[in-house]
Symmetry: C2
Subunit: 358 residues, 2 copies
């Protein structure tokens, strides 16, 4: 292989700690197949999904402690990175060559079928190679033209996973204007996106976050914040809401599910997209079926949701907060800072030519 | 009070066993208030809800062992009985007198508000007096004209709670033609209604039931039956379905929730309306949020659902199975037979003039 065809890439060859993700400088640059584009990556954001996939922390059905990605075993070697902004650098057969040079936001989902509401059954960086690399190939239809967007490359890269996931949650739970909702993990990537997007829809957000980040979370649009370390989180929520809440948008899971469920109104919704506080919960089914409450599992977004997000990116009507940016060589440091959790907003890796402004 | 104004009624004055439900012959006959009709009850079906309300088996939020009705404390004394067919015997102010003599099917739900999709927040026999009595008063709009129905009074009385609940489940989970669904408790009141209604929509039903009742459940429309006492219920379901199922319509809850959830497809639905096999379950939230599965609590029906049921009753397109009928004096025996669980179909109390044919 000559040097022209090689590139830098963060490659996973087995499940493990940070050392398992190796930065290679001699990785083969992929060739776009028919219907694909080659994207030169300008920015790629850091997410929990990449870290959990590296660790194999998703378990398997019937074996929660097994090492696996979110869809099952990972085919190694795998280039990680699900959040990609870039520029089209090449096209495969059947794709218009005029797309070369186009600034794009990449939808990281591999969908079950061609319908607009099909669920994702795979993700770039997990079931296919991702964006922690100089180049990535994706289906042409999943690279969305954002040439006119006022957002920086880092801001664009902040959108797909976190804001896509948040939008999917709000849409699946049909959360709208005038509703009183609780958002957990509100200073995290998905949490802050939930606060911004829900407030923009006219919902009143009670955000659960650490005390130190409360000001940032209120700046993002939360009407109230509750310190997650408070002695009586439920009591604090009840004081904020005064009445039963309409919905909960939850990325935390854990004991709060049982504690707060009785404070969700009849016909209310609890939409969940993660369970960092504990995936296995003791659960009283009666609360659900006596009060017409739905517990809605929400994995990422659909094509329909992503189109809404692309429109917002083009218009600049959503302004993701970029907490910090790092060069690809410092991906391990970026993930370490992400894990320390002192930041508010997204941590982004920028590559050659990527803009990191906010 | 003179004898003309008194009636027979099964009255609950405290939570307890069968002895707590006393048959009174001197109970005051209610007067229809403005907007209400007085219904002479012809048939009233037996349901778990009445028995659990008598026992106070619903628990309270945060105190699952507390004695309470499904909505909280019961206001005693209370006439029980949620499933009512009858004839209009009087009208309150503002109700057309020509309704007197009309054969009616009573919607037992007290709705949260006036919208067609409002959830029920009360039930005749629990939050208001019900139909285990010669007379009951209900809002005129909730007594639906079924003058032309080919169904017997007992068959009509079999519909509201069981078939209304089943219809609510199928509608809320959007279960339709071509889907492969599992129905639990398939020989029970709601279960058999689910089998009949789902099969009528073109769904393929895998019914979990006791072996002795399998023939009756298949006759009601199940494509497959699985013995709930089988050593490997999950394995039997997988053999029937060959692929992951689209939805589960569940009245049982218990350990099957965790066992079967991994066999629900991406984007699948688990709709639950009861938990006779155990209300508190250990639950892995990851299965929901990684696969876009919704756990939908379903309590009874909405006005919109009940209208569908009334149309079916008028047309005779649903033919509920009546397992046995008893006079009001033998209500305790009717509930005892219901509890023994050897029957398939509904057990109904018929009153003066009620027809009990199938």
């Amino acid at each position: 292989m000559n040097r022209m065809d090689s590139m830098r890439a963060a490659v996973l060859t087995e499940h493990g700690g940070p050392e398992a993700l190796r930065l290679r400088t001699d990785w083969p640059r992929p060739e776009p197949a028919a219907g694909e584009v080659l994207v030169r990556v300008t920015a790629a954001a850091v997410n929990n999904t990449d870290i959990w996939t590296r660790e194999g922390a998703y378990g398997l059905p019937g074996d929660p402690d097994a090492k696996a990605g979110w869809r099952g075993p990972i085919a190694f070697p795998r280039v990680q990175g699900g959040d990609i902004a870039g520029v089209v650098a090449g096209v495969g057969r059947g794709v218009d060559e005029t797309r070369i040079g186009e600034r794009v936001l990449v939808d990281p989902a591999l969908y079950r079928d061609e319908t607009p509401d099909a669920p994702p059954v795979g993700l770039l960086g997990s079931e296919a190679d991702g964006g922690f690399a100089d180049y990535v190939t994706v289906q042409a239809a999943r690279a969305h033209d954002v040439s006119g967007s006022p957002l920086s490359d880092a801001q664009l890269a902040a959108l797909p996973v976190s804001y896509g996931t948040a939008l999917g949650m709000l849409e699946r739970a049909d959360i709208g204007a005038g509703e009183m909702i609780v958002v957990t993990g509100a200073s995290g990537g998905v949490g802050l996106a939930l606060v911004q997007l829900a407030a923009a829809r006219g919902a009143q957000v009670i955000a659960i976050t650490s005390g130190a980040k409360a000001d940032d979370v209120r700046a993002a649009g939360a009407a109230h914040t509750v310190d997650r370390a408070a002695e009586d989180v439920l009591g604090e929520i009840r004081r904020c809401s005064q009445r039963e809440v309409d919905a909960v948008a939850d990325v935390a899971g854990g004991p709060l599910v049982a504690q707060l469920m009785p404070w969700v109104r009849d016909g209310g919704r609890w939409v969940i997209a993660g369970a960092v506080a504990g995936p296995v919960v003791d659960f009283d089914l009666r609360r659900l079926y006596l009060h017409n409450i739905s517990l809605i599992g929400s994995s990422m977004h659909t094509r329909r949701h992503f189109d809404v997000l692309v429109d917002a990116a083009r218009a600049g009507s959503v302004r993701p907060v970029v907490a910090a940016s790092f060069p690809l060589e410092d991906l391990a440091a970026a993930q370490a800072e992400f894990r320390r959790g002192q930041h508010v907003g997204k941590i982004v890796v920028t590559l050659s030519g990527g803009t990191s402004g906010a």
